[in-house]
Symmetry: none
Subunit: 152 residues, 2 copies
Amino acid sequence: MDRFLSNTVSRIDAKGRVSVPAHFRAVVQKRGYSELYALRCLDLPAMDVGGLDLLDRYEQRIALEDPFLQTADDMSFFCHGDGAFLKLDQDGRITMSDFIREHTGVSSEVAFVGRGNFFQIWEPGRLAAYGAQARARLLQLRQGTKPGERPE
Amino acid sequence: MDRFLSNTVSRIDAKGRVSVPAHFRAVVQKRGYSELYALRCLDLPAMDVGGLDLLDRYEQRIALEDPFLQTADDMSFFCHGDGAFLKLDQDGRITMSDFIREHTGVSSEVAFVGRGNFFQIWEPGRLAAYGAQARARLLQLRQGTKPGERPE
DNA sequence: CCTATTCCCGTTGACGCCCATAGTGCCCCA
DNA sequence: TGGGGCACTATGGGCGTCAACGGGAATAGG
């Protein structure tokens, strides 16, 4: 298995550490990620976490823009300024920095959510709420609303 | 890692010194910067800080202007005459000069923001405000493009 | 001579490294 | 088929190292 799938909730210990689920670590290793890149989601209280290829993708995208226009600057501001590297310690744990806590609202527990090529970090309660919304949107789609729009 | 990433806030001590984040110092060393050059951003209350290659970026921009126009001259004046070298002391700290304070509005705390090939210095409050604007612009961009797509 | 900078040292707290323990699933064997 | 034991994960905690930070002393420059 080489994709991030399923989701788990882990407890944060007194030192602010949390174990990355074993099956996620296995994927990380299989993909050869030596470092984890975490990015604050644009419109969600979650972090996207993946390998350096995640960052590369953004940088390639930025390269397509005129470097002196606002858009390029905004993009860099987002993926560099709102991104960070996560260090896995020897026991496969990461520490929940304020950088992550501020954006996600995480305090005592963390939800890890597989998203295929990357995974996400959520505050469990918010994840549940968002999941419910997402399901509702999909249901509505099926009922015949025109597909492809993103109701916010 | 060889890119300036993430953002942190540091306190300025009574002597006006502030620690450059250890991670940034590591990048500086890895890139072989012997000196740090700080430029006032053209349109933002922030400083761009990096190696001397930082100037390349600005000079490219100047080259795009008509050399007979006032703009080119203004730009040259700005980037060549309005920059300053930052000295790292033995503990990896820099001093917040009035030159920096005037332009950024920094007083008691400084935010360091990674921007890939360089980093920025902000007054934390202003950074938050600008960051929110940048995010809003990017969101708008996304809604203008094809719906439902997310970079993986 | 006075002030601003630089050097150096000590303290504190955060973080990484390592080990211990408990809970769980799995496998082998009786 | 049930029990014992192995393997592994999640989690807690001790401890050493290093970064952040404050402050005294030396130095330079006006």
